[in-house]
Amino acid sequence: MIEIFSATNKLRFIALAIALVALISLPFWVSGIYYINVGSQILFFAVFALGLNILVGYAGLVSLGHAGLFGISAYATAYMLQQGFGHTTAVAVALVIGLASMALFAVLSLRSSGIGFIMITLALGQILWGLAYRWISVTDGDNGIPVRGRPAPFGYSLTDPVNFYYASLIIFIVAVAMVFIFVRSPFGAALMGTRDQPRRMNALGYHVWMIRFYACLFSGLLTAVSGILFVYYTNFISPQTLALTSSAEVLLMVISGGPGTLLGPIVGATLVVVIKTVVSGFIERWNFLLGAIFVAIVILVPEGIVPGSIRLWRLIVRKRAAAPPAPAATTERTP
């Protein structure tokens, strides 16, 4: 038993090392700035999806207003820069505003869970979109706010796409590590408990509301960080980013990849970004293709690409293992 455990651990370690090397060396083996930029987009959208997954996957709370939170941090950054503040101040203010908005979202929407939570977050997200669209004195409405230049932390100018990619990569790795540690922690276990049996958790002495509230803040932090990366990447923010379709898109990243898994949101973000940016260059009706892929996911791996692939892989391995001898031993394992 212990040997098998360490063997899978070793495999995991090797896979992790390969992934890290691939990500770090990416600027050297992909051809051209364009694909490096696609890489950056995948990374910060993955951070966004990881943030939403804290709620959708681990807290069992589906939010349809996260694009609003993503956008408000981006707007705060752009607005502060437009007002002549430095990058540090702009980023700090954007983080505070992003977290404060998330706290307000949480206080209002945690009055319910399930469909109620979805509808309240949807409404709040739409309010932020409406503000971006109509509060013209601050946001310049449909025109959006342009951002001039990217910061240069420690002398590395992020204007260079490769440097920006590495900055995104560092933040991405920190985010993944945070979620990885969080999920195994006592608080993470408590959060998943409130997802599965909130009433029982209350009876065991847990403060269910407060646990969910803190989870919202963690989700909001990752969302704000990705929103700031986004605005520096595009150098522009407009109400479009806060629209309901953006909220739905990031939710699809989480659901297609596999909610409640560490890799799922990353795979989902990769899928959506690649189709949106790369494949859309070859296929005009890329939306159709994305829709078709989602339908295929729902039919073949309804639990998401990552857990679904693991299930299919095990099925194949077991069939192979069971094929030579009599298949009598397999009956016991079926749930």
């Binding site: 006592p186 608080f187 847990y206 749930p335």
Partner: protein, 245 residues
């Protein structure tokens, strides 16, 4: 001082008066049985005691401390634990993880977002100890989905015991069990030391009567009869509302 005192408890759902002026006084170490026909308000009474429902009037005290206004989530911290009639466990996890969650609920560690819970030997050891009390420590690492109904009942009890309660509320711990499983659960309950006060709802009279010292009969939300085993069983009102079918 009484372990659990309830006085003048009332609860209505709209026009339905479910709990009518219930008084209850349970001494430390006592084994109290609450019986009554379906719809008598037994589980509602438990929900009022644990605070999952708020009484319209009346008060609940735990060892002399008035806890009527204490939120239900704080009551386990004061030494009150319960099990559910309908098994309420974490079905995706292992048995030991279920018990670990029960232990974690009373520990300040539950707010800790950076250590590895599974590697924390304190919780694993205490969890095994609690499971040993119900005879399940040998299958602690088994996923809950691969356990029998009787084993799940015992996991429920292990989770309550893990919290080392002073007052333990058992809501039909024998419900749905086979004769063998009933014997196992009975053994677990008999082994609980006397520093734990137990209040139990049960329909299964033969096992329950053997276990309890004092019995309270509820009928339409009211206490009809209360007394020791012989008194209640021989009372004509008991025969009328409960045993006389």
């Amino acid at each position: 001082m009484s372990a659990l005192t309830i006085s003048g408890l009332n609860k209505s759902f709209g026009g339905l008066h479910v709990t009518r002026g219930v008084d209850l006084d349970v001494q430390p170490g006592e084994r109290r049985l609450i019986i009554g026909p379906n719809g008598a308000g037994k589980t509602t009474l438990f929900n009022l005691i644990t605070g999952e429902l708020t009484p319209d009037t009346g008060s609940v005290s735990l060892f002399g401390q008035d806890i009527t206004k204490t939120p239900s989530r704080d009551r386990p911290h004061l030494g009150m634990a319960r099990t559910y009639q309908i098994i309420t466990l974490f079905g995706k996890d292992t048995i030991i993880h279920n018990v670990r969650l029960a232990l974690l609920g009373l520990s300040p560690m539950r707010w800790n977002p950076w250590t590895n819970l599974r590697r924390d030997d304190r919780f694993t050891e205490a969890g095994h100890k609690a499971l040993a009390r119900v005879g399940l420590s040998h299958i602690a690492d088994r996923p809950l989905s691969q356990t029998s109904y009787g084993e799940r009942r015992r996991v429920e009890i292990a989770m309550a015991l893990a919290q080392e309660p002073k007052v333990l509320l058992l809501d039909e711990p024998f419900a749905g069990l086979s004769i063998d499983e009933r014997r196992d659960v009975h053994k677990c309950l008999m082994a609980i030391p006397r520093d734990v006060t137990i209040v139990m709802i049960e329909h299964n009279m033969d096992v329950a009567l053997e276990f309890a010292e004092r019995i309270t009969l509820l009928h339409f939300g009211e206490v009809i009869v209360e007394g020791n085993r012989a008194e209640v069983v021989n009372d004509p009102r008991t025969r009328e509302v409960y045993l006389g079918h």
